[in-house]
Amino acid sequence: MAEVMVPIGPQHPALKEPVNFRIYVEGEKIVRLELDLSYNHRGIEKAAEERNFIRVLPLLERVCGICSHSHATAFVKGIEEIMGLEVPARGQYIRTIIAELERMHSHLLWLGVAAHEIGFNTLLMWTWRDREAVLDTLEEMSGNRVHYNMNEIGGVRLDLSEKQVEAAQQRLPVLEERIAQYVDMVSHQETMLLRFRGVGKLSKEEILKYGTVGPTARASGVDYDVRRDDPYLVYDEVPWNVVTDSSGDVYGRTKVRIGELSESLKIVRHCIENLPGGPIRVTSAPKAAPKGEILSRYEAPRGELAHFIRTNGTDKADRLDIRTPTLANWTSVAKALVNQNLADIPVIVAAIDPCLSCTSRMTVIDTGTMAQGSISWEELVRKCRARYGTEVQP
């Protein structure tokens, strides 16, 4: 049978963000996938390099709307290490509470999206309803549902009051009951079993070959989690387990994420119950960082997030390179789709929990010498103005 190319995107009703898939099919079976990413380049790395360590954090939170705390924490963690700052224990605990609540809201959101992709909208309504409890807790603690802006160099911006802690503790049993229901449901629910089992399978060898990270990798038996293998914040003090599965399909990825919901809840409960006293930040954090380079790793809800930071002795980063987990996971999608049904594309793509606009990066290549490199913010703005003939604010 002849191959047929099915183009999807960059603008398509099934897509939430711009990406272009060229799917080659033989009948209903997918033969291969060609991906075209980066329709939403924002020059965020260069913009970050132009701002000092105080002003850059709200910008970095906006790399991703779901894992906003992840990006800010990865950055401050790196800068604090370069500066040699010791963050007070209470500050670290508050950062961990926000990080795990963020993971819970991200996984609940994902579960709803995955359910929606298979037409199981009842579960979408349930998970998004339960996600409200997590978002309410986050809003009470930080003042915002999405961009918490809790981090600053040397600690956190806001302390947790007794009232906030009590309100969070009251919500935890409700969430625990709901999560237990999802754990039970994933093993029995016929719709989920039919649409998730055996779909988008990836072996452990393939996962390692393509450098896949996060719940996608753990669902194929790769026992790796930055929180345990390169501990940061207070993960080495909290009792918790890395959730893995051996099935390697979308069903496995669902089980891992639901398992992580339970673990995150355990971590939040432990941190809230054992919240130490004392200051939430260092008394006077230095404004400038000494010359240095660091690769700051963080286990974001979607997988391992890496911030490469180079400082030059000033109050701005000389170079910031952000490798988001979705970028690491894309190649595995191209592999997972082969030999699958055309109708399973949405759920296989959704299974890595893609965050497309966070991944857009740019490399400048000189077509003559083929030399690769990056350009400054001013040069990027100048090139944009020349290309589009518009006024772009620096």
């Binding site: 701002r51 105080i54 002003r55 709200p58 603690m141 003042g143 802006n149 229901q181 029995h188």
Partner: protein, 119 residues
């Protein structure tokens, strides 16, 4: 079975959503709403303007005698905030030494007039 159980439970429980306009959503004390400036407290130090991520705070002329830590100061400048360009991150409030600039618990709304200011 769990779907039917949940359905029966939902039949006898209150709606999950808030019955607006009869009820209003509770606003947490940490809520970051519209930015406001208490001119009596402002000493014109420009810290808010320096830390503002979208750079929407400009220091304009506002000479005045102000009290700070028991001393009398001759202030020269005062902040002016572009209301609809503000991202309400709260950094100005966090870095203000006197609590003059702060975020209220009321919504700032949205608008197309990018030059609308609060003084």
């Amino acid at each position: 079975m769990s779907v039917i159980r949940e359905m029966l439970r939902n039949l006898v429980t209150k709606p999950f959503t808030i019955l607006y306009p009869y009820e209003k959503a509770p606003i947490p004390c940490t809520f970051r709403g519209e930015v406001a400036i208490d001119d009596d407290k402002c000493i014109g130090c420009s810290k808010c303007s320096l830390v503002c991520p979208p750079q929407v705070i400009t220091m304009i002329d506002g000479p005045r005698e102000v009290e700070f830590k028991g001393k009398s100061l001759a202030r020269k400048k005062r902040p002016q905030v572009k209301l609809y360009k503000c991202i309400r991150c709260g950094l100005c409030e966090r870095h203000c030494p006197t609590g003059a600039i702060h975020l209220k618990d009321t919504l700032s709304g949205c608008g197309t007039d990018k030059e609308a200011v609060i003084m």
